[in-house]
Symmetry: C2
Subunit: 377 residues, 2 copies
């Protein structure tokens, strides 16, 4: 039993593997399933923490890779930790930095020791190892920290995936050793193994043995098809302990969230809602809306008539279109807030449907409404 | 007596021409002297209206030129007016569009009819005339609207200035004729005349005769020296009625504000506080601060220890520097809010000092503290 994190499994849906849970951390309680907004550089882009909170966010994610390079985790530590630095006093999860090293870093080289890379900011050379990742996350003081893993490319061959996942497990053991604050920061392990069931089983068995407070399923949101994604989810959650939270990283579209929840996953995060907001895209109860569309020029109705967010309570589509066309920051602010509220409300509705043993019905209804016929599976 | 606007002269400072006043408009009361934040395109850049309000803003300004071109004043009218469109329910002042035609528009040609120009957005040709400017401002529904004027370039010769100010007066008469809502929107006239006292006198005499609810002193914040600026202010306010508000457009640095207040001016506006915020510059009780300066890297104190704004209550210089270096929108949001609070607080302190008959002392103290020796006059 972890002092840093407690998980209660509150209810299991009657018709699927979906589950209602509750995570307790030093900075508060998180009802699951939960979507976690991303604040990469110690800020959820274009939003005050109060606005993030208003969307119903229970926990946010910040990125180890970015904060390690800028401003540097020592500065965040001296500021009193990430909560204090960024003025967000509810739970925070930090990733391990591995994914960004492989997607953003240059000249990277992976060895048993860790990953050498050049900063995408100034080209400086850095080593991110299990010990370094944990040191940075200890400095940041996040409630949930992630073991250092390699997220192998989806086109890697079986031999590479096998060696990579075994190394990730060895890295995780070093993370456990290096972790200075197990009583206040819960370390999660990450399962790898690509699309090979036996490798996933091997990975899961090894990391579960470490008896960590939670686990993530890695490597399934990095360019694979939806079929491959669902394929892994058909069995991977069941390889993890039922009494611990399960997390799929980088998931932020409603369909990917629903498919994961249906198969027993509890936690998700993605930059999707805030990134598409900056491109004028909104998730609404009627599906996606591109606010720059000329048909909204004189549309004085809210972005989403069913939404209760700050944006939908106070502004019209015509105003949002004007802001976007005029290049105004307020457009990013309002659409980001709306999109985060949309995913938070989706999480609330998911939790409610599980409580009522009707998750599968809810999922079908949501698909029909949001995607219509065209993406109905 | 205007139905749209009432002005009470509450108190005159014992040692200067500074005055305390109160303007009442359909959307609320404005204590003067007052600094008005600018929301050019129907949004104060990077700030929610609630945040603008939190800074103590009593009235904001929006730009006729920009809103006429995008989204179009008909759309704002159909939305229910600018207050409704942008969700700001306190007073709004709109300018006449003339200054932007001359500074932003291309291929402009001035005739007795008005100003032909090409849009800076898409090159389309437009005519802005007294009638058109008032039509647009009537559509916008702002509480205070401005007569259409030509702000002649500061290097124009006497002959040009003389003809230009006489034409501006003729334009003002056409504005009065064209104004559809005199009971709900107060039309201000603009005095021109460059740096020629007799032309200023001629302009003032002609526009005062129209008995408008307020007057502005135009053409003194467009590239002149501070000496020229003060030179006009030595006599121009006295040419305007004592019982009506006096407005100097485009003023947003503390020294220009203080010099104008000292000479009997009541209202100011400028993009300065929000524009410099986006460049990482803050106005503080210790003078200007460039937040990107390396010395703030580990400075965990507030941006301005004497400030009560949202930014200073919740964030450190180290965090603000990090946000700015990382290119985060939150940097613009926080510095804009701080800078607007700074000028709002300056206005409050000015009003308080006038109430106590100590404006000149306050001005000297402020100069010493903000500018130190280097800019002390």
């Amino acid at each position: 039993m972890s002092k840093a994190l407690q998980f209660e499994l509150l209810h299991k849906d009657a018709g699927s593997k979906a589950r209602r849970g509750r995570i307790t951390t030093p900075h508060g309680v998180i009802e699951t399933p939960v979507f976690m907004p991303v604040g990469t550089q110690a800020t959820v882009k274009a939003m005050k923490p109060e606005s993030v909170n208003d969307t119903g966010a229970q926990i946010i994610l910040a990125n180890t890779y970015h904060l390690m390079l800028r401003p540097g985790s020592d500065i965040v530590r001296e500021a009193g930790g990430l909560h204090e630095f960024m003025n967000w006093h509810k739970p925070i999860l930090t990733d391990c930095g591995g994914f960004q090293v492989f997607s953003l870093g240059h000249l990277r080289k992976i060895t048993e020791e860790g990953a050498m890379f050049s900063s995408h900011i100034d080209g400086s050379r850095h080593m991110l190892s299990p010990e370094k990742s944990i040191e940075v996350q200890n400095d940041l003081g996040s409630d949930i920290i992630m073991g250092f893993d390699e997220c192998a490319p989806p086109d890697a061959d079986r031999d590479y995936i096998a060696k990579s996942q075994a190394r990730t497990t060895r890295w995780l053991k070093r993370c456990v050793e290096a972790h200075r604050n197990p009583d206040t920061q819960a370390l999660f392990g990450i399962m790898q193994g690509g699309f090979f069931k036996d490798l996933r089983e091997e990975s899961a068995a090894a990391i579960v043995e470490l008896n960590l407070p939670g686990y993530a399923i890695g490597g399934i949101s990095v360019g694979e098809t939806k079929e491959e994604y669902i394929g892994v989810l058909e069995y991977a959650p069941d390889l993890l302990p039922e009494n611990k939270p399960r997390y799929v990283m980088g998931i932020g579209t409603p369909d990917y969230i629903l498919e994961a929840v249906e198969r027993g996953v509890d936690m998700f995060d993605c930059v999707e809602p805030t990134r598409i907001a900056r491109h004028g895209m909104a998730m609404t109860s009627q599906g996606r809306v591109s606010i720059k569309n000329a048909k909204y020029e004189r549309d004085f109705t809210p972005l989403d008539p069913e939404c209760d967010c700050y944006c939908c309570r106070n502004y019209s589509r015509a105003y949002l279109r004007h802001l976007f066309k005029a290049g105004e920051t307020m457009s990013h602010m309002l659409l980001s807030e709306h999109n985060l509220r949309f995913l938070s409300k989706l999480s609330e509705d998911i939790r409610d449907s599980i409580d009522k043993d009707r998750f599968s019905d809810f999922k079908a209804e949501f698909y029909a409404k949001y995607y219509g016929e065209r993406e109905q599976r």
